[in-house]
Symmetry: C2
Subunit: 295 residues, 2 copies
Amino acid sequence: MPALRQDKYKFVAGVDLGGTKIHTALADSRGGIVAEVRVPTGDHGPARIVAAIGRTVNEVGRMADVAVADIGALGIGAPGPLDIVRGVVHQSPNLGWYDVPLKEMLEQEVGIPVAVDNDGNVAALGELRHGAGRGNAHLLYVAVGTGIGCGLIFDGRVYRGAGYGAGEIGHMTLDPDGPRCACGNRGCLEALASGPAIARAARERAKKGGARAIVAAAGSCEAVTAETVAGVARAGDAEARAILAAAGRGLGTGIAAAVNLLHPAMAVVGGGVMQAGPLLWEPMEQEFRRRTLNC
Amino acid sequence: MPALRQDKYKFVAGVDLGGTKIHTALADSRGGIVAEVRVPTGDHGPARIVAAIGRTVNEVGRMADVAVADIGALGIGAPGPLDIVRGVVHQSPNLGWYDVPLKEMLEQEVGIPVAVDNDGNVAALGELRHGAGRGNAHLLYVAVGTGIGCGLIFDGRVYRGAGYGAGEIGHMTLDPDGPRCACGNRGCLEALASGPAIARAARERAKKGGARAIVAAAGSCEAVTAETVAGVARAGDAEARAILAAAGRGLGTGIAAAVNLLHPAMAVVGGGVMQAGPLLWEPMEQEFRRRTLNC
């Protein structure tokens, strides 16, 4: 990320731009969050989404009684491969974006300097500086949501690979003949353990006459989401628990492979899907411990 | 690796210590090899192996008419996790070594400074400085032999992870219910595509009445090696070709996962098993291209 030293400024804004929500926070010079707001991303084009981001920045300023002119800079994490220098999002299938000059558009919208980076990278930096990963030179952060991506910290710095292309842990093959992935391959981690993959596993059981409690909770087969599955699993349903456990084992296997390869000091797992709770985490951790050499 | 700048010295020696052979080379100040020798490692303890390495160093000196006293330093790549500062090999199952102070023993044997590093790391450095990987900031080197390991170059330097533990690509799970691996897990890349895994696949076919041409070439089921399989495959045997192709697809899948995660500028694949030739490479490359996002 281009230099965005938060201690240079009295306040900075941070935006997590996802396929389902825009999450904007205002932080003080020590990184303490003083206001935050979440709004749905909506199924809109770049111009309307950038305008919506601008409104969230005004909103967090208003909530904390800070003028936008006193916000020194804005950092935004966006999904998909992007050019961090020019701030262009090359390709974000979940947003339907291709070559969107996000930095330029957002600077015009809010009138303050903007730095754009991959959402996995900024989450990894956040965990390194303010979260679970403090003090670790080598850190792996895995985000499990609509997609599965990761951020890599080596020697205290974000590692981006050639052409900023690193971090595609979601396209590690776990089952060569498994379900079709959005990338065109079969059996990718993302096709087995992302939010949409969990929902799809439930819908496939429903088509065979199973997953009745899940379909009942969602109202229809088409309305099933990973959240539905997690809620029904917490209520005790065995099928929902089996679906979450299978996704958890997939995550454990994939993260173990990355840890065997990279041996970071710590792996941190986050993202909306992890809110499913221990019924997802525990099988993940068990499988992770089984399949790592030195953990 | 502790500083071992080869241009400081008129001559340096390099040793590849493997489970089956000791391969020693003498190089001039530009890295040009002036003499090399290979001897079997043999099933011996550390003291006899260190003495054998010492004899190879004398031998390459004699071949090139260079006194051992004119060899400025010796670098040795050893398999398994090790401490590069103290030069201690912690664990090398293929050698049966545990906590062997290789640097100290070898310095006493040859009387010149010794640097010890993981064989994958030194192979990656070799490819970076003198081989296929020249000019690439980020490089993945995969060694396919008795085991499967790798060396990682990020920003032109060897990446070792926490506690020098990185590089265990061989223990990436490709098939959660696959064959048992030496590490205790199932379906690791190493259990599917290493030399011993290729030989085992042939022996398992033989036990079911198949692989007759392979067993005939080896003399007995127990005598089958990956080399036997490769030779019979080159002669046209369909079963031997299928075994090599399956191992190749496993390699392609595993290397694709590492490339998706790390996006190096180049991946280089070496090691004795790759001498099986195109019947192994071609399925590997096909599967690699199928399962990578940006290659």
